[in-house]
């Protein structure tokens, strides 16, 4: 192989192609809405989120509270679960809790 002194630095990072998305609009108020709770399956996430949902319910009187549990904290929620959450809830809270 012939050799020539390097003249340029190569960028080793690769292109990122992403689909830009907007954040959902803020809800005007939370009263009477359907609350989804996404438990990420960390050790104490369920406890933390249950307690948080109770506090929020006392203030906002949610019409429903629906709980979902991921199969593991290191996995993303399955698309099917996200679809179900989006259809059945007006807002979703999540948290980790170790």
């Amino acid at each position: 192989m012939s050799f020539s002194p390097p003249l340029y630095g190569y960028d080793p990072r690769g292109v990122v192609v992403a689909e830009a998305r907007k954040i959902s609009p803020r809800l005007p108020n939370l009263h009477g809405l359907r609350l989804g709770v996404l438990d990420n399956a960390k050790m104490k996430a369920g406890r933390l989120l249950t307690y948080t949902a109770e506090i929020l319910k006392a203030e906002f009187g949610f019409s429903e509270i629906n709980t979902y549990v991921k199969r593991g904290f290191s996995f993303t929620a399955e698309p099917e679960m996200i679809t179900r959450m989006a259809a059945a809830n007006d807002l979703v809270i999540t948290a980790i809790g170790d």
Partner: protein, 374 residues
């Protein structure tokens, strides 16, 4: 959420910056493109040779690497491979490893970002080991062999540069590990008394494969005295049954690398690979009470273990749920009674085995070393 039009966020492949008088090494450090060590400076000749070894077509997309999700084109793969010090003949193994790690069930996205110490380990089987000069014998895990060292390093450079797993930024590993510099090895098929790992999994002996798994650094097993299967494997079990690695707390897959001496002692008694894996799975257990500190810090359920495990304090909790979750290799030199247990990352990672040239497994069982049951 509303989707807008697709947007390209930066286009670094076209960004070949002039050094402007800088020492090329210092330029690469200044850009943040290294693993902390100096890199081999890419030249057009070296990059082109690597692309040619990958089959040409420099813009061909081999994979997308999380969590940054950078496009791993052949050109980008080649640049990182050259920077790591790879020879073009290593390219097929390197590509296979990257493709395997980027399969969704490997869960590289989480491996790259976790606070845990996990690093992808690549183990090569088949004739390709010799064709590219890999070391599977003394000191196989390092240092000293160019193929082992630079393939492992190239993988890490791609995880850093393309995947964006910069320590403290997207890689949140609390302590990190030397295994994150380079972690690639080959099985010592020649000094193993059993069929190679990939043959056990249905490939032909003339096939070459790369196995990848999320792994801690190898934990040494010093077992000098026993010369029978139970004695040696009980020492392996001793290493497996600490309660503070992720298999103990979260099940999943693990790797056991027996030294040739240990493997030959075990095989002399007629034990197959399958026997070894079954023995380890059956007797490598902890009491549930040990895992949860006997509820000293409050009653604990442990959500990371399988739901079907009993959780009485005296319940036996296996390190992994099935013999198939123990990936058994023979690695190392012919002298020395030192083997390794290599914990995995719990059930969050599924190992992947892929053939270097993309061939499928044999399709039928090869009745060797207890694999007919497959």
């Amino acid at each position: 959420m509303q989707a807008s039009q697709k947007a390209t966020i930066n286009n670094p492949e076209e960004d070949m910056s002039a050094f402007n008088g800088l020492d090329p090494q210092e330029w690469y450090f200044a850009q943040g493109y290294t693993d902390g060590l100096p890199v081999v400076t890419p030249t057009p000749e070296k990059v082109d040779a690597m692309i040619a070894a990958l089959g040409g077509d420099s813009h061909f997309l081999e994979a997308r690497v999380p969590p940054r999700w950078g496009n791993l084109t052949r050109r980008v793969l080649a640049i990182n491979a050259v920077m790591a010090g790879c020879l073009p003949i290593y390219a097929p193994v390197l590509r296979t490893a990257m493709r395997a790690m980027c399969e969704p069930h490997f869960n590289l996205n989480a491996i790259q970002a976790t606070t845990h110490v996990i690093a992808p380990l690549a183990i090569v089987n088949g004739p390709m080991r010799h064709e590219i000069g890999m070391n599977s014998g003394h000191g196989a895990f390092g240092p000293g062999n160019r193929a082992n060292a630079t393939i492992g390093r190239a993988i890490r450079l791609m995880l850093l540069n393309v995947g964006g797993a910069l320590p403290g930024v997207l890689d949140k590993s609390t302590q990190g590990t030397p295994a994150k510099y380079s972690y690639c090895v080959a099985e010592n098929e020649e000094d193993s008394p059993w069929a190679p790992y990939h043959v056990e999994k249905g490939y032909r002996i003339e096939d070459s494969t790369v196995f990848v798994i999320g792994a801690e650094s190898n934990h040494n097993i010093n077992s000098p005295l026993p010369n029978d299967p139970e004695g040696i494997l009980d020492d392996v079990i001793s290493s497996m049954t600490t309660v503070v690695h992720n298999n103990a707390r979260a099940s999943g897959h693990c790797t056991v690398a027996l030294s040739p001496e240990h493997a030959q002692n075990i095989a002399r008694e007629g034990w197959t690979r399958h026997d070894v894996r079954c023995y380890l799975q059956m007797y490598a257990t902890n009491k549930f009470g040990e895992i949860v500190h006997n509820h000293k810090y409050g009653k604990a359920y442990n959500r990371h273990l399988p739901k079907y495990y009993r959780r009485d304090l005296d319940s036996d909790i296996p390190i992994v749920p099935s013999p198939d979750n123990i990936h058994l290799f023979v690695i190392g030199g012919t002298a020395g009674r030192f083997s390794s247990f290599i914990p995995g990352w719990g059930h969050y990672n599924s190992p992947v085995l892929r053939a270097v040239d993309g061939v499928a497994p044999n399709g039928g069982p090869i009745c060797i070393d207890g694999t007919c049951y497959l």
